[in-house]
């Protein structure tokens, strides 16, 4: 689901997506849509690639671990910020989770080709700013920014 909001007088665009938790074939839809929009807006291909890959990884994480969530995107001419928020189990040890290859994904998820433990490390790698807030039992919020221009 996509909602659009354009703030009057400001050069800001906001998008809101619901990321489904039970349907892997649809996880990644939001980042796919964002990609098309960023292309039409004429952002550089490097910015588009980094933002959409980072967001895709986050979407997949929410689908695997948190039963889905929401994505809020803010587009400005000089930066794009994506906030992914879920009400999942939270991340007990963020430092551990940032390590390449560390994954708590169950076997059935791994058999689909996910759960390689590269999600968060990739998000870190592709974004210019990353902030993770997580409370065990309450949920996780990822704020990722890619600078443009």
């Amino acid at each position: 689901m996509v909602f659009w909001e354009r703030l009057p007088g400001e050069m800001t665009m906001k998008l809101h997506y619901e990321v489904p938790g039970n349907d892997f074939t649809r996880a990644g839809e939001a980042s796919g849509e964002l990609k098309l929009k960023l292309k039409r807006l004429g952002f550089s291909s490097d910015v588009i690639r980094r933002m959409t890959i980072a967001m895709y990884e986050g979407e997949i994480n929410m689908a695997i671990h948190a039963g889905g969530g929401v994505a809020d995107v803010e587009i400005l001419p000089d930066r794009i910020t994506v906030v992914l928020t879920d009400n999942g189990p939270g991340i007990p040890d963020i430092e551990q989770a940032m390590k390449e290859g560390w994954s708590t994904a169950p076997d059935n998820i791994r058999s689909l080709g996910f759960g390689a433990g590269m999600g968060l490390p990739n998000i870190k790698k592709y974004t210019d700013m990353l902030d993770i807030k997580s409370v065990v039992g309450e949920g996780t919020s990822l704020t990722m920014t890619v600078l443009a221009g």
């Binding site: 292309k39 039409r40 807006l41």
Partner: protein
Amino acid sequence: MDRFFHSVTLNKELCVGCTNCIKRCPTQAIRVRGGKAQIISERCIDCGECVRVCPHHAKKARHDSLDMLNNYEYNIALPAPTLYGQFNRLDDIDFVLNGLKSLGFDDVFEVSRAAEIVSDATRQLLSDGKLKMPVISSACPAVVRLIRVRFPDLCDRVLPMASPMEIAARLSREEALKKTGLPSEKIGVFFISPCAAKVTDVRVPIGIEKSNVDGVLSISDIYPRLVGCMNKLEQVEPIAHTGIIGVGWSSIGGEAAGLLNENHLAADGIGNVIKVLEELEDEKLQELDFIELNACAGGCVGGIFTAENGYVARARIQRLRKYLPVSCNRLDDAGGLNRLQWTRPLEFAPVMTLADKVEDAMRLMGEIDDIAKGLPKLDCGSCGAPTCRALAEDIVRGLARDTDCVFLMRRQIQDIASQLSQLEGSVPSGDMAEPDLSRRGGKPE
């Protein structure tokens, strides 16, 4: 040369303004305006989908005619391997090649020979490891043009190598120069094509300065005369010099199979091609070495210039190549790798971008969104644009009006009608409402 030359064109007289082509175009390059289709030139990739789908045959792809042979003293035919699949019960490629000679060509050079050279060169380039992997085939001109307008990030993954057609043209021209002593302009080189995009590719090439091909003839156009010539052949000289790999390029998977490396993917049909390119763009499929993409279903055998159903042609070619050697041509036959490589990089053409500056594009997108919200989201195409969003964009650009949408139009008419009936109900009551005619001219009060 006209930068916006396209093989695909419209016959206005036949176009009835239906929505078949606008819905099918992969780059949303067609609009119906004033009851006729229009092609947005810079977006068209010559894939031929509209030609295929038009029930009124209003979409046509231009090609050259056999009369052009009269312009040259020595003519060479370059048959695409797809040609071999057009004939029932053919068991020897040489019948086709000799048929071409009796049709008026002085020499024949199979494009499949050059395809084997490209296969060999690609194997070498892949093993050198200097290319960005996975490498995307550059053999399908519609796919290369699609990448150029829609996938900026993938431009540097396209195999920077001239097509088998170009290499065949160059090699055969060089042979003819030596053999005849004629100047190059007296030698005519003609590609016998299943593909409309090749016509564009010859006129406005990508990756090379100028094409060595002088004309592109459509298989379906020359087919009846060629069959006539083949039936009258008295003797058949051996010309064919291709193996399984070269002939296999005619259908999807053939080029990839020629790499003798199982680490590849092959996708056909423009919709499937786009899906694969999207995945590649998202850095998936990294484990593969090579991606073969053909805009037409089935590969070149599914091209719009063919005379026979692509799947039938594929089956015939499969049978025909059964007793051929694996390959008969090598990279050395073309004088080495650097003679095959592109001299110009593939550069992204941002024709889908809303504006040059991000700020302007954002403002436009905001306006488009505002208008799109009021549209029915049925994407019916009745307005002449392929989707409601495309109409919204056209409105913002001043190319269409909101009343082009039949649903908005109906709503407006309903609004006007209800305003009218409201107005009627609000006419002042009293004597003015219904003039009492009986009083007119009646007794004075």
